[in-house]
């Protein structure tokens, strides 16, 4: 007699979501942007060709420039995770894509906005537009390294587009600086650029990543702040979460593992990370790292914003001292891609600035970090002895 089996009812028709064409949101932001440009209220800097077009949350196509970009650097990356910015530049150089690393750039100063509130809408808009105008004058298109700057500039763009008084005020300030009210056609985060070059990067991969399990922390200010502008892809999470970072890791062959608190913030909190760190530490370790550890036991966790790397990396030391289940190396996807493509772990990726243990990860990828560390020690000696003033790109690329 045949054994009766219970066949699940729904999993047979595996659900696959397709956004209906009519649902693609009317793009009011860009409509307004070009309308105001036509009225002579502002200048719009166009995305330089060649660019890639990718889907955003509600289906709008966003243009991502491939090169000729003005690198709007991040305070925390440059200050404490210099391998982050260096890896972004290194990727451009490896792929033969041209860029501009300007000195005529300030921070977005959102630290003054989100942390201490010692600013206001007009000041923030003027700072943003000053940077945009500087990029425009250089002829290069802004590529924004920091997730907070990216999110904040989109908020600022919204305020400028919707408030004539604010535009007038900012235009007057810019006039005093000899500048125009410039807004870029798209506000682009570097991780969106990594997303569009991921296949080229994967072609240049020299280390096998197929044994690596990674978890992804999507940055709040990337996908929650002005959410409609974030990149989504139907092939990644069925188009239900932002595709960013995960798409890149998958292109490299990394096994991306899920964990139940993926949507949670890292606990950075701006003022908290500096003056109320009990909150930051607890949240980062108990809500993020420990959960990843318990549910996915990853070799590394990858994110795409400054504060998240710092918070998740630095908070683990104290938790470890309390015997909590932590100990996951943390880095940005730019650094991870660079490593996979054979970048020097210290000269380029600058892993000595990170707190968590990354040795096991590098070994699993097949990177002989001990030899590389010795090489880097040689560089430091040369600098200390005055034989060498700085480590150069030529040094970084030396085999």
């Amino acid at each position: 007699m045949p054994i009766e089996i219970e066949i699940p009812i729904l999993s047979a028709d595996k659900r696959e979501w397709k956004r209906p064409a009519e649902d693609i949101e009317k793009d009011h932001t860009h409509e307004l942007l070009f309308e105001l440009e036509a009225q002579g209220e502002l200048v719009v800097q166009r995305v330089p060709e060649p660019y890639s077009e990718v889907d955003t949350k509600y289906g709008r196509k966003k243009k991502i420039p491939l090169q000729h970009t003005w690198h709007h650097k991040s305070c925390g990356q440059c200050g404490h995770i210099p391998g982050y910015s260096t890896s972004i530049f290194w990727l451009h150089r490896q792929l033969g894509l041209e860029y501009n690393d300007p000195k005529d750039q300030t921070s977005c100063t959102a630290w003054n906005y989100y942390a201490s509130a010692t600013s206001n809408a007009a000041a923030q808009a003027a700072v943003a537009v000053r940077n945009f105008a500087a990029a425009y004058e250089s002829g290069y298109f802004p590529l924004i390294h920091c997730g907070t700057s990216f999110g904040h500039y989109k908020e600022t763009r919204h305020e400028l587009l919707h408030h004539a008084d604010l535009r007038k005020q900012v235009r007057e300030i810019m006039a005093k600086l000899g500048k125009q009210l410039v807004l870029p056609e798209e506000i682009v985060h570097y991780s969106e650029w990594v997303h569009v070059i991921r296949d080229r990067a994967a072609q240049k991969r020299v280390y096998d990543c197929s044994k690596i399990t990674a978890t992804v922390h999507p940055a709040c200010h990337y996908h929650k702040l002005v959410a409609e502008d974030a990149i989504y892809d139907r092939e990644i999470y069925g188009g239900q979460r932002s595709a960013i970072v995960t798409s890149t890791l998958q292109a490299l062959g990394v096994n991306v593992a899920d964990y139940s608190t993926w949507f949670d913030c890292c606990g950075f909190g701006f003022r908290h990370i500096l003056v109320q760190r009990d909150f930051t530490r607890s949240f980062a370790t108990m809500r993020k790292i420990e959960v990843m550890k318990n549910e996915a036991n990853p070799d590394v966790t990858i994110t795409h914003d400054t504060g998240c790397v710092t918070t998740l990396d630095k908070s683990q030391f104290a938790a470890k001292a309390h015997d909590r289940n932590v100990g996951v190396p943390v880095m940005s996807e730019a650094q991870f891609v660079a490593l996979a493509m054979g970048a020097h772990p210290y000269r380029v990726v600058q892993l000595h600035w990170h707190t968590t243990e990354y040795g096991a990860l590098l070994e699993k990828m097949g990177i002989d970090w001990k030899t590389r560390w010795e090489e880097f020690q040689g560089d430091l000696e040369a600098i200390k002895s005055g034989k060498k003033e700085f480590l150069t790109w030529e040094d970084a690329d030396a085999k």
Partner: protein, 233 residues
Amino acid sequence: MEQTRYTVRNKYSDVPYEVKEQLFREVKSDLRFTDYLYGCYECGICVAACPSARFYDFSPRRIAQAVAREDVELIYEQMNDDVWECSQCFSCNRCPRQNSPGGIITVLREVAVKHGLRSAKEALGAYGRVIYKIMSTGTQVSPDMLQPDAFPDWGPQVLDVSKNLDTWRKAIPPETLHTTETAWEIDDKTIIELYLIWHMTGVMNMIEKVDEGLYTILMDVMEEKLEEAGYSM
């Protein structure tokens, strides 16, 4: 003016109602306000996603409710006791009414700073050097700010960085990153432009209200640079 009171307890009864009302008027007249608050039907979505709500007795829903009800007394209390706990992550932006409780908090904080509320001074007490750094150099969290005594919980690696700072900075390939006092190298002309923005947008007045000492130091630094560049204060 008729006073609508929803609370029996009034924690800041020493502050005149008119003062609290004036602060709320400023909040409401901010250009961002209409985008940040529509109405609230207490679904709790903002709280569910809020990291601070898990750690403190803090609720973005209570903030949105108090502001929607225009409960001037309660708003004043929150402006003092609650707003600095927010992480400004904007997880609450997924509100189905399209409110931004985090954005309301940004505005509440700014008004608190502008009026030099004691709580704002306290919240920013340990924060002076951070504000100083970004306003005077145009970059934040510069390499030299990571001092081991301020970050004992980050372990001995912080000591490594601080001990080797000069050499390690020189061992970074991009030319703009060899700095220690700023996150990257910035042109003087750029800094001057930033100072002019601070002056023209009233940010210096905010600093004066919340931290006089910091204001004096900042003014000194700026004045010198501005004068060199041919601007008179």
